[in-house]
């Protein structure tokens, strides 16, 4: 008979099971390729492709004055924010240009613009913005306001000086300093956001798929008749998945985030790994929960979408808590991903320390432990 195992025996057995999970993952070439794809190409695409700034906004200037002053004003609408496109001949053509999307902005400088300026009469410039994309509409408007504001200040200063109104006009120069990402490099945000999201996706999907596969193939039965306890079956699975995901994180950090996007990693890398490992481990409970509900892979896929989509939107990554209605904000408070996002950006981009991150980490651990406990409990109930 078997001697009853001591803790070393149990540990050895666990390690053997982890080894088995890793071997199985390694032999699943489709999955490996998919993981390689998402942790490199996908993050690269997200980081390099997504940009929310005003970039190359097409502007058509209908200059009805054709004077030096009008040309001077129009010339201030410059790349990289703006790109000049040929002007329409008449207002109808202008409307059509906006309708078809060929230009995003049409600026109309009236006849007698220069004459009006010279005579001290206000000159009205029409600025039509396609605001069907609200963010870009707003940006196009505020950039224009800034350009025209500056133009006005220069004009007024010159005229007041000419009128003998003194040395100068008072004005405020408001210099802006963006913390953590001074050059507003969108790849930093998108790259990190995508990485944290992928970690979440795989933390849920990998254990779910592995568990459903054992269910489909009937190998789960073999484990259940063995002396292994449910926790001994699940723990190695989750551990192996955690290792794989951390390997993916390493790849993404080294190759894409550091290598291509030059993201500064301001905090402690070991801290980030520790947080990620804790998060993956605990969040896997949600995956196990799905595996107990689904009968096959297709259902796992659908259920995962249903769970992941809300988690993502309630993560605070896209919309800060303060912009949400109070009930939605309450939902956000129970999404473990929300805290992982805070902690992830906190360490990588903001250089925060363990002590500073204590509140979100505590919440994340608590919610994760709940999820893992629930997954384990349901798994245990279903199979014994």
């Amino acid at each position: 008979m078997n001697p009853v195992l001591g803790w070393r025996g149990v540990l050895g057995r666990g390690l053997e099971l982890v080894r088995k999970e890793l071997l199985q993952l390694w032999r699943d070439r489709v999955l490996i390729l998919f993981l390689l794809y998402v942790f490199t190409v996908d993050i690269y695409l997200a980081g390099s492709g997504l940009s929310f700034s005003l970039h190359n906004a097409t502007i058509a200037v209908m200059d009805q004055d054709m004077s030096q002053a009008s040309r001077e004003l129009a010339s201030r609408f410059q790349p990289p924010q703006f790109r000049r496109v040929p002007a329409p001949a008449d207002p109808r053509a202008a409307q059509r240009q906006l309708d078809t999307g060929r230009s995003m902005v049409v600026m109309q400088i009236p006849p007698r613009f220069q004459a009006d300026l010279g005579a001290g009469r206000p000159a009205d410039v029409q600025y039509l913005v396609d605001s069907s994309n609200s963010v870009l509409g707003l940006l196009a408007g505020s950039h224009a306001a800034e350009i025209v504001g500056r133009y006005n200040l220069e004009q007024s200063a010159a005229r007041l000086a000419a009128a003998g109104a003194g040395a100068g006009l008072p004005r405020v120069d408001n210099a802006q300093r963006a913390l953590f990402n001074p050059n507003q490099n969108e790849a930093w945000f998108m790259g990190i956001a995508e990485l944290l999201m992928l970690v979440t996706v795989f933390a849920i999907i990998l254990p779910a798929v592995a568990a459903v596969r054992e269910k489909e193939r009937g190998t789960i039965e073999q484990l259940l008749v063995s002396p292994l306890r449910p926790l001994e079956i699940l723990l190695p699975k989750v551990l192996a998945m955690t290792l794989v995901i951390l390997a993916g994180v390493t790849l993404a950090l080294a190759v894409v985030l550091r290598g291509v996007f030059d993201v500064p990693i301001r905090g402690s890398l070991p801290l980030f790994y520790a947080i990620s490992a804790l998060y993956v481990f605990t969040t896997s409970g949600i995956g196990l929960l799905l595996a107990t509900i689904a009968r096959n892979m297709a259902q796992v896929g659908m259920l995962a979408i249903m769970v992941l989509a809300p988690m993502m939107f309630l993560s605070g990554m896209w919309t800060p808590p303060e912009a949400l209605a109070p009930p939605v904000r309450a939902l956000m408070a129970v999404s473990p991903m929300h805290y992982y996002i805070d902690a992830g950006f906190g360490v990588l981009l903001k250089g925060m320390t363990l002590a500073e991150l204590a509140p979100p980490l505590l919440a994340m651990t608590l919610l994760g432990a709940l999820a893992f406990g629930a997954g384990l409990a349901r798994f245990r109930r279903q199979f014994s």
Binding site: G9, L17, R27, T219
Partner: protein, 665 residues
């Protein structure tokens, strides 16, 4: 006959002409060759069988004939149409019905019986009037009428298979192609299915191409083609095939079974254990006259066993499984199993039982899955648990394994109490499931290593144990192959090795041999025999193969959650013989009509096997006369009845039908 004339008129070719004609057919999947140069002709109005294990190439061949799979070489003609392309295949599809492999796999689970039939009919453009008439007729014939509205997913295995047949027939094809229609179905439903099919072939002049993995079903075909590894091993009528094997089967009962088996194994090609008996196939010498074979075979066996006490000895003709093994087994005897010193046997206290079940009950809501089940299994005993799907076998095993607690009752396994120490049970038993439960993406060695770790085999012992098992289970030399790449026979032996890794004293085997060819099954049973007899391991096994049931020492037959018979196979057969008489077989000129006439005349068990009729009757002396009387009005002549040995299938079917009749009353 009118029917024959009709058939001729429809096709312009006479009955018996080839409906399907294959020449040198080849099918490859990547580097693997599934069908390797097969010639085959299927004659009109015949039931043509394809017999062979999984992977023999049967399914590919049938799909190619049905025009749903493209082939890579050779020629194929169906109804005289050369099938070379998707377009040419379309031309014959209206005349063909295909039922692919997998019980109910081609049916729609969410649809009702009637909706399934309607879909198949409308897909084939059957007009509504004809559909209504055919549906009524086919549902009546298959006794599914009552279940019209029931969703397919709620049908039993046997009913799914009959529904599959109805759906295949609804457009009245001339050729039906049925891929393993009886796999995974209990013996009673199987007999029922064959009776329906026989009737259809006979009445409608249908041509059927049917495959099976059960060797004993081959006797039901007019023509049988045995396949292995994509090639044809043998072809002919069942009788003709057997005539090609000049051998005698000698069964002996002998006190020193282990030694007897060793000696017989050394002298003869094919020896297997059947409970207390050893069954040996003795090949005749080339010049030996047929009349002398049995006597000489007996003499040779007695000579081999010289010095051992032979308690009983019987001779019989070989069956189709023997033929298959003779044709398929690689030359030379397999490596002998490692001899265990008697010292390796454990000492058991007198009266000790490896498994004890007392009044086990398991209730699921209103449904009682297991009802007062009791039995005992001694160390070294091979115990068979038989029963149809849903009879409660799996639930009994789960309770004994400690996975499911019983609602009532008690028991012990390997000396540990079922209720109090399920954890101990788990450490002391081995379990091998139907699906073989291996990690297909791990290698042979990795699988063994994993299970050794799971069962806590000490690290120091692990390598030696793995080596022992590789040898015992005859899977040496393939240690680094992935389990998924192994042929079924080896995969099965690997699964057994995994179940044995911690030297359990009790091993549970849940339908361990499904999908394995007869050669592999024999090898497997050799190992089981070694475990039981040489190492004193108690084995509990469930199986659908009635030929395997014969190999058990002791059998419990379950029906609707209860044990309805508990004895050795010999006793069960003797009991059936005493109650219902012996099994008789005879040839007739019109077998199907003869079966019907005999049933009407009171021979309730009359059934058709290929061209001969089987029935049970207690009075052999007057049987021929009574049969002649029953068949005379139809002008059918019958040959002399020949006595056949009763099989476990006869026992099973008789018992279950009896119980069903009781339940109906």
């Amino acid at each position: 006959m009118a029917r024959a004339a009709l058939v001729t008129a429809m096709d312009g070719s006479p009955a018996g002409a080839a409906v399907v004609n294959l020449r040198g057919l080849v099918k490859r999947y990547g580097a693997a060759t599934a069908v390797d140069g097969v010639d085959l002709a299927v004659r009109r109005g015949r039931m043509h069988g394809l017999i062979g294990p999984d992977g023999a190439g049967k399914s590919s061949l049938m799909k190619i004939v049905a025009g749903v799979l493209a082939h890579d070489g050779g020629t194929l003609e169906v109804f005289g149409q050369a099938v070379t392309s998707e377009r040419s295949a379309e031309r014959v599809k209206q005349r063909i019905g295909l039922m692919p492999q997998g019980l109910g796999q081609n049916l729609y689970a969410e649809l009702s019986v009637e909706e399934n039939i309607d879909f198949f009919a409308r897909l084939r453009g059957v007009d509504e009037q004809a559909l209504a008439a055919r549906k009524r007729q086919l549902l009546a014939m298959t006794r599914l009428e009552r279940f019209r509205e029931r969703p397919m997913k709620n049908l039993s295995g046997g009913m799914k298979q009959k529904l599959g047949l109805v759906c295949t027939l609804i457009h009245e094809p001339e050729l039906i192609i049925l891929d393993e229609p009886t796999t995974g179905v209990d013996p009673v439903s199987r007999r029922d299915f064959w009776a329906i099919l026989d009737g259809l072939v006979d009445e409608r002049g249908l041509t059927a191409l049917v495959s099976t993995a059960y060797m004993d079903e081959a006797a039901r075909f007019a023509t049988a083609t045995m396949m292995l590894g994509g090639r044809v091993l043998a072809e002919g009528t069942p009788a003709g095939l057997l005539a090609a094997l000049p051998a005698t089967v000698v069964s002996v009962r002998c006190g020193e079974q282990v030694e007897a088996q060793r000696r017989l194994g050394a002298h003869f090609r094919d020896t297997m254990l059947r409970g207390a008996w050893l069954r040996t196939v003795v090949d005749a010498a080339p010049e030996e006259p047929a009349s002398e074979r049995a006597r000489r075979a007996e003499a040779r066996v007695r000579e081999a066993l010289a010095g051992l006490a032979v308690e009983a000895l019987d001779t019989a003709a070989p069956d189709l499984e023997d033929l298959f093994i003779a044709r398929a087994a690689p030359a030379g005897a397999p490596a002998p199993l490692p001899a265990s010193a008697p010292a390796a046997r454990r000492a058991w206290p007198p009266g000790y039982h490896a498994i004890e079940a007392h009044g086990l009950v398991r209730q699921f809501g209103d449904f009682r899955a297991v009802d007062q089940v009791s039995f005992t299994v001694k160390p070294g005993e091979i115990f068979g648990l038989l029963g149809a799907n849903g009879a409660g076998k799996t639930t009994v095993i789960k309770m004994l394994n400690g996975i499911q607690p019983p609602t009532a009752g008690s028991g012990s396994v390997a000396g540990a109490d079922m209720l109090r120490a399920p954890g101990q049970i788990k450490r002391r038993i081995g379990y091998m499931s139907q699906a073989f439960s291996l990690y297909l993406d791990l290698s042979v060695r990795e699988n063994l290593r994993l299970f050794a770790a799971i069962y806590g085999v000490p690290r120091a012992r692990r390598a030696a144990r793995v080596h022992e098992l590789l040898r015992l289970c005859d899977i040496q030399g393939i240690e680094d192959m992935l389990a998924g790449d192994l042929p079924m026979g080896r995969r099965q032996r690997l699964a057994l090795a995994c179940a044995l890794v911690h030297e359990p004293e009790v091993v549970f085997l849940d339908e361990p041999t499904s999908g394995v060819d007869p050669v592999g099954r024999r090898r497997f049973w050799d190992i089981l025999f070694h475990l039981a007899r040489a190492e004193g391991v108690a084995l509990l096994i469930t199986t659908h193969y009635m030929s395997e049931a014969e190999q058990c020492d002791h059998i419990s037959l379950m029906y609707a959650g209860r044990v309805v018979a508990d004895a050795s196979p010999e006793q069960l057969k003797a009991e059936l013989g005493a109650r219902r008489g012996a099994l008789w077989a005879f040839d007739t000129s019109a077998p199907q009509a003869a079966v019907e006439a005999l049933r009407d005349a009171g021979f309730a068990d009359a059934s058709l096997y290929g061209t001969s009729v089987h029935l049970l009757d207690p009075d052999g002396a007057t049987l021929a006369a009574r049969v002649a009387v029953a068949l005379a009005p139809l002008g059918i002549a019958a040959g002399p009845p020949q006595r056949r040995p009763l099989s476990m299938e006869d026992v099973f079917v008789e018992r279950v039908l009896e119980l069903e009749r009781e339940a109906a009353r």
